[in-house]
């Protein structure tokens, strides 16, 4: 279950997609041009009558940001359906999701392992904060990184039947852009009550 508002997506020509405001309110902190976004990702905040909620992409929309509304303002008022971003397809960026398998180590900690071999990214774009960092408490469905396999990006989710519902990150093992093998550790975790 992901909280927040889901933006509207309008397909354009050649696979591009226009991302629009789902309600009337202030849009805060849109990403800069060049950032790669994937489906379901939180990309800004939405302020309605003083309260803020995460603003997410619809699951079907992903790509590289090529247009940002608001003339560079960090916070601006948007009407319903007002375009916020334009995304263009990047290679074969897809919002495929891969659930990582977890198992206990001998030390009693949990280890989240790479679901397949590829290049692991800890952040959605070079100038963006990491998906997770040491000390974060994860809940099911949280994106922990991107895995690029043959130019196809997949989101790696904290999700699985044998995972505790909440877990704290002890260590993020690979650095941003590291190649990882299937089964290699991505995160070390401990269960949180």
């Amino acid at each position: 279950m992901t909280a927040g508002l889901v933006a509207l997506a309008q397909p354009l020509e050649e696979g591009a997609v226009s991302i629009a405001s789902p309600a009337v309110g202030y849009v805060v902190g849109l990403p800069a041009p060049g950032v790669v976004l994937v489906g379901g990702q939180r990309f800004a905040e939405f302020e309605l009558l003083g309260g803020r909620e995460p603003l997410r992409l619809p699951a079907s929309a992903s790509g590289r940001v090529v247009f940002v509304a608001g003339d560079g303002a960090r916070r601006f008022g948007a009407a319903y359906g007002e375009p916020l971003l334009r995304l263009e397809p990047v290679g074969d960026v897809l919002a495929r999701e891969a659930s990582a398998a977890a198992e206990s180590t001998t030390e009693g900690a949990l280890v989240l392992r790479a679901p397949m071999t590829g290049r692991f990214y800890v952040r959605p774009a070079p100038d963006k904060p990491a998906f997770v960092k040491q000390g974060d408490v994860l809940e099911a469905g949280r994106t922990i990184g991107l895995l690029e396999v043959m130019k196809t990006f997949s989101r790696v989710l904290y999700e699985g039947a044998d995972l505790p519902t909440r877990a704290r990150v002890l260590r993020v093992v690979p650095a941003d852009g590291d190649d990882v093998e299937e089964g290699e550790s991505l995160l070390e975790l401990e269960a949180v009550d």
């Binding site: 309600a23 009337v24 309110g25 309605l48 009558l49 008022g77 319903y80 359906g81 007002e82």
Partner: protein, 464 residues
């Protein structure tokens, strides 16, 4: 006094949010323009290209369906705030009588053009409203003292006031949650049905009971109050020509009320408006019984569709007055200065087929040519040639108002005006109005509330 009060005219709003559509949105914008206030229209996807928004500031609220746009409280208030509006006019319908919405506006620094939320809430509940009116000396319809405890109490009160009786929802409106009992053995079933419908429609199963007055006339009083207890009335309107509880023709003065009864009621209505702490334009609705007495039914805490009738007769702009009192101005007119002139009649021109139970007829207006306006003829409309009447909202196309020296003169002028009004492309109520206005029954004033005198339609639904 140790200080000297600084008296100055309050500053009017610079920007006004219009939380409505169609004809009333146009009316509000006209008032804003007259006062030098910039109107900002909240629009749905269906209205974003409506002719009346041309060259205007708009904020798109959401989808065409009103529950996704005009009825979204938070979205409307946010739109007003982020477009820099410090006041909001709700028009009529939609959120105009929603106290939660009024409160939300105030909480976010947007002045709601209307009464305070708590007054609106009190008038929205039937028994507190009735009680306040009785206290101020207004006649009320005989019935239960407040809400009924159970069906046995209903039977007992019914015996006291006499049959037929009407069981009504405490939180009701629009004719829902109402049942008639014509004899003691019908009370039990009527009570159960009214209770079930009230619970389903309004989430409140409480009922009250009133004697049913079947052969009455609908008469209402237009009121205007400032924030400091100043109240004036703008006379009475008769709105008896109706279909399915919706008004079709309104006129002022009310032709069948005895002057003494009217004077007494107007005075009490002004007193009641003052006593409940009302602010802005409001209307008290009465039923004129066969005994010649006016009995309070309910108070509408907003601008009415038929406000123009009183505006024309009293030569007063009610919408600019609403904005001025909302901004904190004291009433600038006294009751003595309000001088009625002539007799005014209004016909509501709807996109409906009167021969088929007033079924709405959406479509494109291939011709729309209202008669020329003058001092004695007014047309309020948002439509023009090429306008598409959509399926999403109500069917009101235009209001045609005329003033005559007296009722007969107004009637003749209305017949001419209806004849000159050309609308093609959709079915309208124009011909029905000509039949009613031209009828002997209307001329004599010989009809009751809910009827359409002089109009005969084969397939019309029987009135409830």
């Amino acid at each position: 006094m140790w200080y000297k009060a600084v008296v100055q005219a309050p500053t009017l709003f610079h920007r006004l949010f219009i939380a409505n559509r169609g004809e009333v949105a146009v009316r509000i914008a006209k008032a804003a323009d007259a006062l030098g206030i910039t109107p900002v229209f909240g629009v749905s996807e269906a209205d974003r290209d409506a002719p009346y928004t041309r060259g205007r500031e708009t904020v798109l609220l959401g989808k065409a369906r009103s529950s996704e746009s005009y009825l979204r409280r938070e979205r409307v208030v946010q739109a007003a705030a982020q477009s820099g509006c410090t006041a909001l006019h709700p028009g009529w319908g939609f959120l105009a009588e929603d106290p939660i919405f009024a409160r939300l506006c105030e909480d976010h620094g947007v002045t709601f053009v209307g009464p305070p939320a708590h007054v609106m809430a009190a008038m929205g509940k039937k028994t507190p409203a009735k009680r306040a009116m009785a206290k101020a000396g207004l006649g009320v319809i005989e019935g239960s003292e407040g809400v009924l405890g159970d069906v046995d109490e209903a039977a007992r009160v019914a015996d006291e006031v006499g049959f037929p009786i009407l069981l009504k929802a405490e939180s009701g409106g629009g004719g829902r949650g109402m049942r008639i009992a014509r004899a003691p053995d019908e009370v039990r079933a009527a009570y159960a049905e009214a209770q079930a419908e009230s619970a389903a429609c309004f989430g409140d199963s409480r009922l009250y009971l009133e004697r049913l007055l079947e052969r009455g006339r609908h008469v209402e009083v237009q009121l205007l109050a400032d924030r400091y207890g100043g109240v004036v009335h703008l006379g009475a309107r008769d709105c008896s020509v109706q279909r399915n509880h919706q008004k079709l023709i309104e006129e002022s003065p009310a032709p069948t009320v005895h002057p003494e009864e009217l004077a007494r009621t107007l005075e009490a209505a002004v007193r009641a408006t003052h006593d409940i702490g009302y602010v802005g334009a409001g209307t008290m609705e009465f039923l004129l019984g066969e005994d010649g007495r006016l009995r309070f039914m309910e108070m509408n805490t907003r601008l009415q569709v038929e406000h123009g009738v009183s505006e024309m007769r009293m030569d007063t702009d009610l919408v600019t007055a609403q904005l001025r009192v909302a901004a904190g101005e004291r009433l600038w007119i006294s009751q003595d200065e309000l001088r009625p002139r002539g007799h005014v009649i209004e016909c509501r021109i709807n996109a409906e087929d009167p021969s088929r139970g007033f079924q709405p007829t959406p479509g494109k207006l291939t011709r729309f040519a209202p008669p020329d306006e003058s001092d004695d003829l007014r047309v309020d409309t948002h439509a023009e040639e090429g306008y598409v009447v959509g399926p999403h909202y109500d069917s009101l196309l235009a209001k045609l108002l005329v003033r005559g020296k007296d009722r007969e003169d107004a009637r003749q002028k209305m017949l001419d005006a209806l004849d000159a009004f050309v609308i093609e492309g959709v079915c309208t109520t124009l011909a029905m109005h000509a039949a009613v206005i031209g009828s002997d029954a209307f001329a004599r004033g010989d009809y009751f509330a809910g009827e359409q005198p002089g109009f005969v339609s084969g397939t019309e639904e029987p009135s409830s």
